[in-house]
Symmetry: D2
């Protein structure tokens, strides 16, 4: 990394990455802006929105008043090909339409949606009910989970930023699955998400009066993050895994709590040590001491994933608790981490803000 | 039941059950009062609180203004032995101190705490870290889950009202375990509770600023409801079960959502039919249509447990979703249901209020 | 009232009011159903929804499963003219289109929206930006605030059910304004509403992630409830009032808290006595003891309005605190109260449920 | 300020302010740590807690794991007199006991509690029901509202950090009161606070199940922030003001929303311009465009106060909306701002974090 950094800070001047954002009117968009506005090596050139073209960003998001001077630009006028990097904070199916031209123009792409996450294009088309527009970029795209694909990320042209549930679930399962100490045929991920995970879309199901003082599971028959998680864990295990994934909606704005269950096949393993050594040196994974219970607010507004591992009553069931902020580690923060890797910056640049508790 | 009812409505007059409540300053206490104040066959003679003796109940709980004229009485003055029934809405360890004398005086007892729930007194003492004061009443106490022990409840002198988690979890697992169609050695109950479950106690951990916009697991190494659930499921299975139970705190006032996982051993079983027939005719269990996701608000303020059963992707994992209102079905409402059974009343008397949604 | 009741219970048989509901897919609709499903003298014949025709009501609102057997009917098929009473739980502008025909057919109408609330049709058209379809019914419509218009309500053919804010604000100001003890030229109503007041509409502004852990004023330049409140207080004062009305959105599902300020012009008045005597005998107004602070949950799910009156530091400013459940007293419950009056039933029939606290 | 800064950055080396914190186990304590941990010119030497001495700070507040290495120290061992600055994040009545010795030792003091806020010691003793331990320091203490007392703050030895409500209310009223354009005899401040304002104390009234889905006023007869606000506005007006102050508890963690009412005495004034020019150049006050409604989340986790001014229907009532984060601008952030002023640092140092929305 040092060599790259040396290149980056050439002639003693601070070089800035020229960045574009497509689709900045959602929660991942405003979170990306919150982070990039304080990132010392980024200049956001354009942020697009067909519908809101002309509106100052800070009019839609007053939290950015005085900090982000941009207005939304019509995509046609954004000249994104002059950026070095374009983030897609769009619904699924948009990035795949524009990525080919950008890549051809030498622009690197980070897609915060799902277009490049699933390597099996047919599988992707089944779950997302769309025809894929550029399968060849799926083939070269790098899955942006730095704890697994750090080296590939550095040189990626197209980066698939992981989903929120997949981030929390994979980070929790990885040490067990990589070490081969659990029955990977019977993994269970019971995950709970704050409502911001549903996006900033006008839908009855996400209204305050529908979701507050309420708790429910959803998507039990099948959720789009299932194949993404399975793909990652299968790669880690070296063989197909069997996963039951049940997402739930919990009345909070931000945060994902994944409670993971796996049957231990090696009862001699020191689980605490396994997790600590797997994530030693990782800037954004924090393994808690034994017998801990991480709460989502301990990572609110930060890029950290906190994990605790338990073996209740000394039995053969491992229980892993993994928490992230779905908008940071589950979206915009991880995208910035990936950007830092892609452009040879120190990994934590722009991600130093401490969690906001309470 | 008809005979008992006939006795009850003797001489064309409505007989009233004379009831006492010990410890009415908590959430189960006020909920019991809310229900009993509208119960057509109950007269609450006394509600005790050492600390608040003399204070009108409606001063502490303004929701009861004009509806409950009682003041809290010092236990010494309450003359509970003149009641026909005494509810204990107290912390663990209180009911066992007073039950013997009441029973000797011919008073029936419903304990909403845990003193009589665990048949193995040594096990109880291990989990609750108290010495039991009347093991002989444990032996005769009836566990008040009407869907299992309806007949015994009718004649119970001491009734152990089930815990909130145990109610939601047992009702969800019972059809599977009774039918012998799942591997009872590897049951998993991932349960989420509203914060009222922690009671009306001055504790930092239950503050709004600690629990709002936050989600966490707790008690993973061991929670007191684990032996209670295991006991019930073991009885249903006819052999010891292996259960992993992980409770979570979710930022809502009322409600429990239990997500249950079990490995199917009989893949031919029609799960939907199994659940529907198990609970056919039950006034307080509602099996939802296939592919449903019950939300806790659909039972808010009511005594109903709603259940859905899933078999994701047709695999061998059964997922059961079970929701209750922890203060009603998980406490006061189930106690009233048990009272109705004990006194030969129609089961739904006083429990007709519809859920409050939104 | 006795004569009417005698007529009602003719021949010892319980007569049922045949009721129709137009537009039952919103929060006032489901709340109306919750109340009417337990009302002993009501039979809901039809509930209409163009969009959801054919869907069982309990599929949309699982809280009504097993209690409400109706499906939504297309308005064209509903035969509402065969009802005795039709509730409109619709957006503004619908009831005025259908009321004339219903009234002509002898059907009484309760409009939970605003079509008949403002007597000055031109004023109404200015605020609601619609042309009124039946001004002649505005002229005869009765404003359904029973504490003021009880006698007129009994015989009303068209009843304008008050808005939620107007109910809380008027009940709080009325004793002061009627008694002429405050400067009516400088009234201030600072009101806070739960988010269910925004309705069950797919709008970004009402999303959980927009409104939770957040607080804001809205409509300060002018809100539609301003002319409604002014009209009521002007009638009570006998001369035009000057009112500043600022509504706020607070992160809770149900409830309105109005904090009212008025300058005392008669410093000898016993405010506590004034309020208590004004509302003596009123079944749905509860004046709290001096120095009280009502909370919204003390009326949650009930039709009661609780009021406290203060005179801080003995100065000349009166502060009134008035709380209601916006969906019950502010909508469906008040409509049922009005129906009871219109059909000669005891006023509290079907409204006996106690507030749900916590 | 330049001279002081020049002194500060002597010899090209970054000098660090040696800081102590007394009482860091509350919400203002952890917020202070969150800010100071990222402040480039601060080294926290000690944080004291009698009760938690020895416990690592990050064990109590996992959000600080890996960022704050300190453990709580017993006050006796903290050697606070070796600090340059000591923050008191303690209950009222603690700072006054220790300030004299610290000041004598050359240590500057910022009290986040109320001990030095009220210049009239007798008045303070009436409201706080304590005897003041060092009235002579009250006399020299500077009230830390930078928009009013910036110059005095720079040289303060004892700084009284303003209360949360007083900050929001004074900033909203100041332009009007200073300009003499309103009737200062009839000011009304209707303020709403998140529950973190009640502190991290084990009290039933602050439990989630008491405050969630609920709204209430409190302290209407008299709240301790009333004399503080009155003192500030009286100073600004140059004559005694008449203020009615009604605080409310709203179910959110952070945030204060003050809605302020005043009768205009000069109807020609351009209110928007008045506010904008009063706060021109202020780094932490943001006057919104006309017709705006600031929401509390737009300042969440930041030190900014956002203000909007309205004149509904062009009448003579001014309505000001003022929002702050009670833990930042209403406590820890304002304290850091004051520290920056006291030590000649750029005012925004360490306070650059953008608001967290949603």
């Amino acid at each position: 990394m040092l060599a790259q950094q040396a290149l980056f800070y050439h002639y003693g001047t601070l070089r800035m990455i020229e960045v574009g954002i497509v689709g900045g009117t959602g929660y991942t968009g405003v979170e990306l802006l919150r982070l990039l506005a304080r990132h010392p090596h980024v200049r956001v050139r354009a942020i697009t929105s067909r519908k809101e073209a002309g509106m100052p960003v800070s009019e839609m998001f007053p939290s950015l008043r005085g900090q982000v001077g941009l207005a939304f630009t019509d995509p046609a006028d954004a000249q994104l090909e002059q950026c070095q990097l374009v983030f897609f904070a769009t619904p699924n199916g948009i990035a795949m339409e524009q990525a080919r031209a950008l890549v051809a123009a030498g622009v690197r792409v980070i897609d915060l949606a799902a277009d490049f996450r699933i390597r099996d294009v047919a599988e992707w088309e089944r779950w997302y009910k769309l025809q894929h527009a550029c399968p060849e970029l799926v083939a070269e795209a790098v899955y942006g989970l730095p704890e697994v694909y750090r080296e590939q990320i550095r040189t990626a042209r197209v980066l698939a930023n992981p989903g929120c549930y997949p981030t929390a679930v994979q980070l929790g399962f990885l040490p067990l699955v990589e070490a081969g100490v659990v029955d990977v045929g019977q993994l269970i991920a019971d995950a709970k998400s704050g409502v911001s995970g549903a996006g900033r879309k006008a839908e009855v199901a996400s209204l305050f009066a529908e979701t507050s003082d309420n708790f429910k599971a959803y998507g039990v028959p099948g959720h789009r993050h299932l194949p993404e998680i399975s793909q990652g864990l299968t790669a880690a295990a070296g063989r197909p895994v069997g996963l039951t994934f049940v997402p739930h909606l919990t009345p909070m704005v931000r945060g994902i709590h994944a409670t993971l269950y796996a049957r231990l096949t090696d009862s001699t393993i020191d689980l605490q040590k396994l997790f600590e050594s797997r994530y030693a040196g990782e800037p954004f994974v924090d393994v808690l001491p034994a017998n801990s219970h991480p709460d989502t607010r301990s990572v609110r507004a930060s890029n950290v994933c906190r994990i605790a591992v338990h073996r209740p009553q000394g039995g053969n069931m491992v229980v892993v608790l993994s928490v992230i902020d779905n908008l940071v580690r589950g979206a915009a923060g991880q995208a910035v981490h990936n950007m830092n890797l892609m452009f040879g910056l120190p990994e934590t640049t722009g991600l130093e803000g401490l969690p906001v508790l309470p």
